[in-house]
Amino acid sequence: MSVTVKIPTQLRAATGGESEVQVEGSNVGEALDAVFAAYGDLRERITQDGTLRRFVNVYVSGEDIRFQQGLETAINPGDEVTILPAVAGG
């Protein structure tokens, strides 16, 4: 399934300036792996030892994946995956 992954401004140097990337994947983990396959620099910035870094938040159509099944969260047609820093607010 084709899905749109939105990249935060500060990481766009690693995607050649692209703000969103179209990839294939049935869940969040697969979609991110596909992004990393295309833009290798992103893997280390977003993940550590195969899991998301502790200050990275990922949302599927606005809902934090930690309220769902984490990287196993299924993606449905039309969903958007958004990567955002977790260190805002308060």
Partner: protein
């Protein structure tokens, strides 16, 4: 000039002093880094004591080259000994209340906003903004008005009416988002990428957070240049809690005060307790929650500084507790009855946890405890509804006597 750079708290990568808030290498939070190698402690103390009657007396320890102009300077709020509260709690500890409701918009948020807006002006921003649970909205709207800047404040649309009214009055663009605070925060993180605005707690967060250190500095100064043994502070994002620790540590390191880092006790509401839960479970990350509590100003289900708050509580031998809505209401009343201070729900959380510590016997005789009251009771009036009843009488002596026959002796 002692402000050096922004530095990642996770991997120590350095960044220039601009509108940046997370590390591009590891997503860790950025923090202001200072070079105080030329600082003379006695000289710094003299500058403080000769300084303004607010937070800018601590300019040496804030991210500015000099003292910024500020028409609405917060700070130097009362620190009061609460002997009757200690008595009611049944402890021989010295209990002190730092009443930070005594700020221009009646919460500690004036401190962080004053610093963030001064930095926004220095960086040339014309519009400021924030994601808020209410108190921050009040402060951003007011300080933006005072500085002549445009502002957008984003809040959950179901916020207490008092907080909405006390924000809109300043002529800000008040935006109620149909969602909880974490939804508001996510939206603002996205908006910060799209608009050239200074979001005080997003892209200006490293500076904003520095404002909370002034609460630690004031505490030390008001205690006669001494440290408390223990502090009890509310935790929402965990920023205030960790920056209190940083403020004490900076002055310890620089020799402005002697002693040890106080024991840190954090306070959350049971209905939104991701940091208390992480502490209890021994986790080094916080599992996000969907908040359900009357303490709306603390209702952050995904706390940015949660991991650091847990670390600081552990390192200082303290803890993080949570109290129920009923305990919050009772604690608001307890503080009001024993000190004359009427706090909002967040203060009820803090005093509720103080009471828990007393009940568990954790407050030793002679121990000096400072509890931080961060907001004003008039902003969360619903929390006091039905906690007492009014005597209603006719305008006659008979009616009064009939009502109080049991209680008044002539």
């Amino acid at each position: 000039m002692s402000v050096e750079s922004l530095k990642c708290k996770e991997c120590a990568a350095g960044y220039e002093l601009g509108a940046a808030y997370f590390c591009e290498r590891c997503f860790g939070p950025l923090e202001v880094s200072y070079d105080h190698s030329d600082l003379d402690a006695d000289e710094a103390k003299r500058r403080i004591q000769a300084g303004s009657r607010g937070i800018w007396r601590y300019s040496d320890f804030l991210p500015f080259a000099g003292r910024p102009g500020d028409p609405l300077e917060p700070g130097l709020t009362p620190l009061l000994r609460a002997e009757r509260l200690a008595e009611r709690l049944g402890v021989d500890a010295e209990i002190w209340i730092k009443n930070d409701a005594a700020n221009p918009t009646h919460s500690f948020k004036d401190r962080v906003v004053a610093v963030a807006i001064a930095k926004a002006r220095e960086l040339g921003f014309e519009t400021v903004a924030c994601a808020s649970t209410g108190n921050l909205a009040n402060a951003v709207a007011a300080h933006a008005a005072a500085a002549g800047l445009d502002s957008y404040v984003f809040v959950p649309s179901n916020l207490e009416e008092q907080k909405l009214l006390a924000t809109g009055v300043y002529g800000t663009n008040l935006v109620g988002v149909r969602g909880n605070y974490d939804d508001v925060n996510r939206l603002c993180t996205q908006l910060a990428e799209e608009h050239p605005w200074a979001f005080v707690n997003v892209n200006l967060r490293p500076y904003y957070a520095e404002g909370s250190k002034t609460l630690a500095f004031e505490t030390v100064e008001q205690l006669g240049w001494q440290l408390p043994d223990r502090v009890v502070s509310p935790i929402a994002s965990g920023s205030l809690f960790t920056k209190l620790g940083r403020g004490f540590q900076e002055w310890l390191d620089l020799g402005l005060v002697e002693g040890e880092q106080p024991t840190f006790n954090g306070a959350q509401a049971t209905g939104c307790s991701p940091v208390a839960t992480a502490f209890a479970e021994g986790w080094d990350v916080c599992k996000p929650q969907k908040p359900e509590t009357i303490a709306k100003s603390l209702a952050i289900g995904d706390p940015a500084d949660g991991p650091y708050a847990v670390e600081h509580a552990r390192r200082t031998g303290g803890g993080i507790d949570a109290v129920t809505d009923e305990e919050i209401r009772a604690a608001i009343k307890l503080l009001a009855e024993t000190t004359g201070i009427f706090t909002e729900t967040a203060g009820g959380v803090t005093i509720g946890v103080l009471r828990k510590l007393a009940e568990r016997g954790e407050l030793a005789a002679g121990e000096r405890v400072v509890a931080y009251i961060t907001g004003e009771g008039l902003k969360t009036l619903d929390a006091t509804r039905d906690t007492f009843s009014m005597h209603e009488i006719d305008p006659s002596l008979d009616s009064f006597d009939a009502e109080f026959a049991q209680e008044v002796s002539v």
